[in-house]
């Protein structure tokens, strides 16, 4: 069991494994989002109170849920990286950050588009929207810190510390913002009711899983990119079919050094 787990510490294995997994995850994502969109736009009934505008929750809620989920993924992999010095965990955190930031951005924009017909203004300092805004700042801070430190290893470790500090703070920030918004606005805001009818909840579930799989797909692709960047000089990378193929296509000066010479090199060596 643990031996099997240990293979996930090996870059070549993870690179190949995620390469094999990615198309399946991507396919599942397309199917889920397709069904979710169809059910959400055509099949789900019109809401009694909010009319058709409630359909925005089919993109807003998944984006909001995933924005938090991705931060958790980032923080957990950062902790794994700091504790066990597992470089791949850092690659996961690095790959996840921009995806999470884009989900947070989406949650803010769609929340604002949903708020305009509901509240009459584009922006309201509602607890959840404010938390999302602060989450976006946390993501941007993570990426900015990473970009600012030149030395890759210190950048990775400093960013990991920041992600963990952020995750300790998120609940405190969240509850303080909740408290603050109820303090300043007596409870007149129509909250999205948890008692949502089944015919409306099913499309939402499809969309949430669709977003989850999209995150998975993009994460796998970005993880493979990160592994290539980190392991650029490793011999297993040079022998990858996709690298060999590019070598064959490369201009003459480079291509001389490719396939036939590879064997002669070992002879000389």
């Amino acid at each position: 069991m643990f031996k099997w787990l240990h293979r996930f510490g090996s870059a070549p294995f993870v690179y190949r494994f995620s390469g094999a997994l990615a198309p399946w995850v991507g396919g599942a994502c397309a199917v889920l989002l397709g069904i979710g969109l169809y059910l959400g736009l055509f099949v789900a009934p019109t809401d009694y109170e909010q009319g058709e505008s409630y359909r925005i929750i089919y993109v807003h809620v998944p984006a909001a849920i995933m924005s938090m989920f991705v931060y958790m993924v980032m923080a957990i992999s950062s902790a794994v990286f700091l504790i066990w010095r597992m470089k791949l965990a850092d690659a996961v955190a690095q790959a996840a950050a921009p995806i999470g930031a884009s989900f947070t951005f989406l949650a803010l924009v769609t929340g604002s588009l949903w708020g305009k017909p509901m509240w009459g203004t584009w922006w309201i300092w509602d607890g959840r929207l404010t938390s999302e805004l602060l989450l976006l700042f946390l993501y941007l801070g993570y990426m900015a810190l990473r970009a600012a430190i030149e030395q890759p290893q210190s950048a990775a470790r400093a960013a990991a510390v920041l992600a963990i500090v952020g995750v300790v703070n998120i609940p405190i920030i969240h509850y303080s913002v909740e408290w603050w918004s109820t303090l300043h606005q007596p409870a007149t805001i129509t909250k999205l009711k948890p008692s949502i009818h089944e015919s409306m909840a099913v499309p939402l579930r499809f969309m949430i899983f669709g977003f989850l799989f999209l995150f998975g797909y993009v994460l796998l692709v970005r993880l493979r990119t990160g592994i290539l960047q980190r392991e650029a000089r490793a011999s297993w990378v040079a022998q990858l079919p996709e690298i060999m193929r590019f070598n064959a296509l490369a201009p003459a000066a480079d291509s001389q050094a490719v396939s036939p010479s590879k064997h002669s090199e070992t002879k000389h060596g």
Partner: protein
């Protein structure tokens, strides 16, 4: 059909939401794939160069 696109009068809010969401999702996929291709190409070039250097040293 027109009624569907009208979204009960909320078209100006519903369609931009779905539009920007799928634009951002698509951009995520596109940028990730594009970056992967670029890094593969760069890595390939670098590995070819080191190999050529090694070969030059050997001969």
């Amino acid at each position: 059909m027109a009624e569907f696109f009208n979204m009960g009068g909320y078209a100006a809010f519903v369609w931009p939401s779905f539009g920007i969401t799928f634009l951002v999702l698509w951009a995520n996929v596109w940028f990730a794939k594009n970056q992967f291709k670029r890094v593969t190409r760069e890595t390939a070039r670098r590995s070819a160069m080191t190999r050529a250097k090694k070969q030059a040293r050997a001969s």
